[in-house]
């Protein structure tokens, strides 16, 4: 009885020992992975900061303006002059809408073979 309990306990302790060891090694693996990742992150953050700085330089008006000046001829651009600005007040009023009903009537009449011009000419007595 006692002996079988002892054997059982020894077996469980060996199993537990093995479990603890595997856990320990897996944790060490995870920790080194984490270290590698954080190193990679900080490295990439460094690269990102450089890229952001580059981006900021490229966006500066002081960087863009000379480029535009150099290519003024090809791009046909120039600083905007006051005369180029329009205002809403300068727009002409919208023209009257075409009389669609009358146009339809005219086309229908032409389709029916009635020539309105002929009628006018007859009135004038030209024909």
């Amino acid at each position: 009885m006692i002996r079988s309990i002892n054997i059982f306990l020894i077996c469980t302790s060996v199993a537990m020992l093995a479990g603890v060891y595997t856990l320990k090694f897996s944790i060490e693996g995870t920790a080194s992975e984490r270290t590698a990742l954080s190193a990679k992150i900080s490295d990439q953050e460094g690269q990102l900061s450089l890229l952001k700085a580059d981006w900021a330089v490229l966006n500066q008006p002081g960087h863009v303006a000379p480029i535009i000046k150099r290519h003024q001829a090809e791009l046909a651009v120039a600083p905007v002059a006051q005369a180029q600005f329009g205002a809403f007040a300068d727009l002409p009023m919208r023209p009257a809408r075409p009389d669609t009903a009358a146009m339809d009537a005219l086309f229908e009449a032409i389709a029916d073979g009635i020539d309105p011009i002929d009628a006018i000419l007859e009135l004038e007595g030209i024909e």
């Binding site: 900080s42 953050e45 460094g46 900061s49 450089l50 952001k52 700085a53 900021a56 330089v57 966006n59 500066q60 008006p61 002081g62 960087h63 303006a65 600083p79 905007v80 006051q82 600005f85 205002a87």
Partner: protein, 578 residues
């Protein structure tokens, strides 16, 4: 039954085998317990000892965290970066771990030939734990040094400040030292506010800091800087500077001063003459101060806009006679006094007000104290405590007192915005935030008069702002020129002048005030002169012509707007408003 006798022999106790073994076991258990207690005590003691050890977290007396601490990015009002942090490798050595100093020195100097050999050898010998070799290098150099494979030489990543705008906003931003602490400009102001505290607590790591938003508009700043650089060559001036304010919020839209420096190389800021002329340069403002005199006298009701002044003869003060520069030598109405920039007329206006109340008005406009502003580089203006007769007379047209251009632009902002003094700022500030800070210095009525006078200067014939108006046609700019003679060997020199043009636009509904300064300009060509209208004036015109569309101001050529600015009482007298 015991026999009781006198002679006892000692009894012999005979233990059985089991009892003996029991005793032995007891003893063994005690020994084991002792051994265990000692063993665990040792382990526990060692643990406590390890807990007490303080690992070396400092680098030459500074915490490692501070070295890698970051600063918040600085953005302009449109969110464009004006200053960012970049991560750079810094080279350090651990002399304790260096095996062969000579080899290390010779190898390092193949990559970094600018290092002094004796200095480097001295640096690498000894048994210190940490010494800097060179800070803020490039990734390429880092690779090259790593390839040398010297033991005890390594890199640490530091934050370095980088200013993508280069020279353009140098005086606004200032610069930082190698430890990432602000040493001038807004960088230093930020430190005094909060960043330094964050860094001390070790919280300023990573890039999670809230960006600082400035009021500056980089586009306008670029145009102003470009025009000032152009002016330096065009007029062969020794210096030029300009500042633009939003008059309703007091926000600085642009601020530039030449000669300037590159904030990426802080050493360039130590060159003579690169000081910020807008805040820490004080000058005799010359005729742009006449606007202040007019404002004071009109506001006090001492003169009316339609009053006439006798400018036929110079005014005598003992041995001195003060005369006009381009004298008309006739009776002038107040708008004409302003337009022709008549010294005599201005003195009469000041005298109508009285010299003591004039001095009090200067205090009300805060001309005798520092402007409240974020930049640490400020100088106290020099305005006499009280004026003599002649002192007040010269002060009325801007001589005999020195103020900074920032004072002038703040005053002009108050003149144009309806008479509210608002201290300028470099941080973003909305109109709602600004309004509680308003301080009424003029009646709205006076502000209207002044706007009319400034605009008159630009549009009427013979006005000193006509050169400016040519370039900025349609944007309703108006202002006042100032040509202040410099003191050379204790006398005013007519060849060395400081020129100013103080302006506001668009005057039918003013939004911005600007002061441009050119120091010791020469004539551009034989047909032009050296007075302010020719240089500071035209620069102003060109700047407005470029920036008005960016600021959302549409050009308008209608005469109506200019007519509406003319006050009613002037129109009754002069129907065409001069």
């Amino acid at each position: 039954m015991a026999v009781i006798g006198d002679d006892f022999t000692p009894t012999i106790a005979l233990d059985g085998a089991r009892k003996q073994r029991g005793n032995l076991t007891q003893a063994r258990i005690r020994w084991m317990m002792l051994a265990l207690v000692i063993g665990f005590g040792l382990v526990g003691g060692r643990l406590v000892q390890l807990g007490m050890v303080e690992s070396d977290q400092t680098i030459e007396g500074q915490a490692r965290d501070v070295i890698t601490a970051t600063r918040p990015p600085i953005l302009d009002r449109n969110g464009l970066e004006m200053a960012v942090d970049i991560r750079v490798p810094s080279l350090f050595a651990e002399p304790r771990r260096i095996v062969d100093v000579e080899e290390a020195v010779s190898k390092l100097r193949t990559v970094l030939p600018n290092l002094d050999e004796a200095w480097l050898r001295n640096r690498l010998t000894g048994d210190r734990g940490f010494v800097w070799v060179q800070r803020e290098l490039t990734p390429a150099i880092q690779d090259a040094v790593m390839r040398l494979g010297i033991p005890g030489i390594d890199f640490i990543t530091e934050s370095k400040r980088f200013y993508p705008g280069m020279n353009e906003a140098a005086h606004i931003l200032g610069s930082t030292n190698v430890d990432n602490q602000g040493i001038s400009g807004i960088e230093r102001h930020m430190d005094s506010e909060s960043v330094a505290l964050l860094q001390e607590l070790g919280l300023a790591r990573g890039n999670a800091l809230t960006p600082v938003e400035l009021s500056v508009d980089m586009r306008v700043q670029h145009v102003m800087h470009e025009q000032l650089v152009d002016a330096m060559t065009r007029y062969q001036a020794i210096a030029a500077a300009g500042v633009m304010l939003d008059i309703h919020t007091g926000e600085v839209i642009a601020l530039a001063s030449l000669p300037d420096f590159n904030p990426n190389e802080p050493a360039t800021a130590l060159v003579k003459d690169t000081f910020n002329r807008i805040t820490s340069g004080i000058f005799e403002p010359g005729s742009i101060f006449k606007t202040v005199t007019m404002a004071g006298a009109l506001d006090a009701g001492a003169v009316r806009i339609t009053d006439q002044f006798d400018a036929r003869y110079g005014i005598r003060f003992g041995r001195y006679t003060i005369d006009d520069f381009h004298g008309k030598h006739r009776i002038l109405a107040l708008p004409e006094v302003y337009k022709y920039s008549s010294n005599i007329g201005t003195i009469r206006v000041m005298q109508a007000m009285g010299k003591d109340s004039y001095r009090a008005f200067l205090s009300r406009m805060k001309f005798d104290e520092r402007v409240q502003f974020e930049l640490p580089e400020m100088r106290v203006p020099s305005v006499p405590k009280d004026f003599s007769e002649v002192g007040a007379a010269t002060a009325s047209f801007g001589h005999g007192l020195s103020v900074s251009p920032l004072h002038m632009v703040t005053a002009y902002a108050a003149f144009a915005n309806g008479g509210n003094y608002i201290a300028p700022t470099l941080y973003k500030r909305s109109a709602a935030e600004a309004e509680p800070l308003y301080e009424r210095v003029l009646q709205p009525r006076t502000s209207e008069y002044l706007r009319y006078l400034m605009r008159l200067n630009a549009i009427s014939t013979g006005g000193s702002g006509s050169q400016m108006n040519k370039a900025a046609l349609g944007y309703r700019v108006g202002g006042k020129t100032g040509t202040a003679e410099k003191v050379v060997d204790g006398r005013y020199s007519s060849s060395k002048v400081t020129n100013f043009f103080a302006s506001a636009f668009p005057l039918d509904n003013p939004r911005y005030a600007m002061v441009i300064m050119v120091d010791e300009p020469k004539a551009e060509n034989p047909q032009s002169g050296t007075t302010a209208g020719w240089n500071a004036g035209t620069i102003t015109g060109r700047i407005v012509q470029r920036v008005a569309p960016m600021l959302g101001i549409a050009p308008d050529f209608s005469e109506m707007l200019d007519q509406q600015i003319v006050p009613a009482e002037v129109r009754q007298l002069y129907p065409e408003g001069f």
